[in-house]
């Protein structure tokens, strides 16, 4: 056998795996040409954002085997980061330009709170929308995985943490807008391009982020670290005896998944034009969870080391069709 044979067959396999993914993305990108309806386009963009959230969940749950019920926590944190920045870009009616956001005035807040201050910078807000969820997940993961918490306890802890953050946001009305969330936002503007929720620019932004999330998730699943995460899902304790610090791998995949969910949250704010405590609510978190059971569930039954985030995406992006084949990839 020629010495380069395994490599070229590996390349072919890689292309075969990437092809369906790229076809879906091509369809997503071509949709605005066929669909001449701004309202529908916004609706599709919204579903695509939830698709990104599902990809992120597929990464930690389906691929990493982490029974994470609180994925909407990261989603919500991302959406608030974006909403805070866009809120500060509006011209408040009461106080004039660069004044306090309206809901703070209603709540008798005199000065912009210190943690709002950096959100005057959009770049900071975007970085925060990715990094804050990742850091929160890493901190939570540190306690859970260092303590070798597994299974249903992970579900309880992640769900409980999300509920606590949700309650804090509702409770701290003067800083967060409480129940109503943060509404009446300015349009996102990057490099002079304005992203109207019902415009094509926003749709393409979302589509681009779908592609980006898919590629990041794909690259991770194909890395050796991804392989080790699969091995941990399969037989956690065995992995330790090869010298891998299992907790760090779990923390990493958990934080990566949270960052992608944060990205989805930021986009959701742009598409919906507001942020609300319901974005990190139990209902949203669980509905995404049930959005991909056929996808991630396959990972449980084992046998195939298939990239389940991809199936998760397929279940969301196309019609949710229960995959009847275990998948040979």
């Amino acid at each position: 056998m020629p010495s380069n044979a395994p490599n070229s067959s590996g390349l072919q396999r890689l292309i075969a795996q990437l092809a369906p993914l790229l076809i879906v993305c091509a369809v997503v990108f071509a949709l605005p040409v066929l669909l001449n309806n701004d309202f529908l386009l916004n609706k599709v963009a919204r579903y695509l954002v939830l698709g990104i959230l599902t990809i992120s969940l597929g990464l930690s749950w389906g691929f990493g085997g982490i029974l994470n019920l609180g994925q909407a926590m990261s989603f919500g944190l991302g959406s608030y980061a974006m909403a805070m920045a866009l809120k500060l870009k509006t011209v408040p009616v009461h106080t004039g330009a660069s004044g306090l956001p309206d809901f703070m005035v209603w709540n008798n807040v005199a000065h912009l709170p210190w943690f709002w201050e950096p959100f005057r910078s959009l770049s900071f807000a975007i970085a925060a929308g990715l990094i804050v969820p990742a850091l929160v997940a890493a901190a939570l993961g540190w306690f859970m995985f260092r303590g070798r918490v597994t299974g249903v306890y992970v579900s309880i802890i992640t769900l409980a943490t999300m509920v606590v953050i949700n309650l804090v946001i509702i409770d701290q009305q003067s800083y967060t807008g409480g129940f109503n969330g943060i509404t009446d936002l300015a349009q996102l503007e990057i490099f002079g391009v304005a992203f109207d929720a019902y415009g094509r620019a926003t749709y393409y932004l979302v589509a681009g982020c779908v592609l980006l999330s898919l590629l990041v998730a794909f690259a991770f699943t194909k890395s050796k670290a991804g392989l080790i995460v699969q091995a941990i899902r399969d037989h956690e304790s065995r992995v330790r005896y090869f010298g891998y610090d299992v907790a760090l791998y779990q923390i990493f995949v958990f934080a990566l998944s949270a960052a992608i969910a944060g990205l989805a949250g930021m986009l959701y704010t742009v598409v919906m034009e507001f942020a609300s405590p319901t974005f990190l609510g139990v209902q949203l978190s669980l509905s995404v969870w049930f959005g991909a059971p056929s996808a991630a569930g396959k990972a449980w039954s084992g046998r195939s080391s298939a990239p389940c985030w991809w199936r998760a995406c397929r279940a969301r992006c196309r019609n949710p069709r229960p995959s009847s084949k275990p998948g040979r990839w």
Binding site: F220, K224, A225, Q230, A231, D234, R238, F242, D245
Partner: protein
């Protein structure tokens, strides 16, 4: 002469039952030590102590001057200890080649492993390992589809892939045919010298074929140590195996 691995007065109790009772054992570098003993003697527990699966209630384990008893399992593995389990433990969902790839733990950090593993040298390495343990045909099949003997071979191959300085083997030939057992003995003879091995075995034929020095455990203690002939002639060993048909039928 300083020893490579040193267990000093190691005791473990499970709910008051002393599985190990002040166990002492020293192994030299490059040695292949066989560990035998009747069922429940504490052989598996002794290996569990070395690799960190079980923490001793008292006593010390030193390896190359490092105190292992205070380290985490992954730290012990990084210090150069590999372990094969009595119940074959492989990644059943993963393919044979992925199993071997996980075991090739050259880099252990998350960030160091983020690069793609499509390297050619890695693939060649894995094909060589698969040939060594006779699993070339099974490389792309999930490990769940392997027979019991093949699973044993896969785990042995994973330990070769791991390339640990000290290799702990718990009943590696259980469930193998006579021919497969002979092949395992040949492989171990090749590993000896380059690696230090501790092999727990019941098959006396196998033990005689591979072992330099045999350690006999009984009721959590070291009963005797010596060559096969010395051990078999030892009166206390004979007594320990009494009723189980003698040492060669243990």
């Amino acid at each position: 002469m300083s020893s490579h691995l040193d267990l000093r007065d190691v005791s473990v109790s499970f709910n008051g039952f002393k599985a190990l009772n002040a166990l002492n054992m020293s192994v030299r570098k490059g040695e292949l030590r066989c560990l035998i003993g009747p069922n429940g003697a504490g052989k598996t527990t002794a290996l569990d102590i070395i690799c960190g699966k079980v923490k001793p209630s008292s006593g010390t384990v030193s390896f190359d001057g490092t105190a292992l008893q205070d380290l985490e399992e992954y730290e012990i593995a990084r210090a150069g200890v590999g372990r094969k389990f009595q119940v074959p433990s492989v990644f059943r969902e993963l393919s044979v080649s992925d199993n071997l790839e996980v075991a090739r733990a050259r880099r252990t950090s998350v960030l160091g492993n983020l690069r793609w593993n499509t390297g050619n040298s890695g693939r060649e390495d894995i094909e060589r390992l698969a040939e060594l343990v006779g699993l070339t045909e099974q490389l792309d099949r999930p490990a769940a589809y392997l027979s019991h003997g093949q699973t044993q071979w896969l785990e042995i191959g994973m330990l070769v892939a791991q390339d640990a300085e000290l290799i702990l083997m718990d009943e590696p030939t259980a469930g193998m045919t006579a021919q497969e057992t002979r092949k395992t003995a040949e492989l171990f003879a090749r590993l000896k010298g380059k690696h230090t091995l501790i092999v727990v075995e019941h098959d006396m034929g196998f033990v005689k074929a591979i072992g330099d020095i045999i350690s006999v455990m009984h009721m959590g203690q070291m009963l005797a140590e010596g060559t096969a002939a010395e051990v078999e002639a030892h009166p206390e060993v004979r007594r320990a195996y009494l009723g189980s048909g003698g040492i060669s039928h243990a």
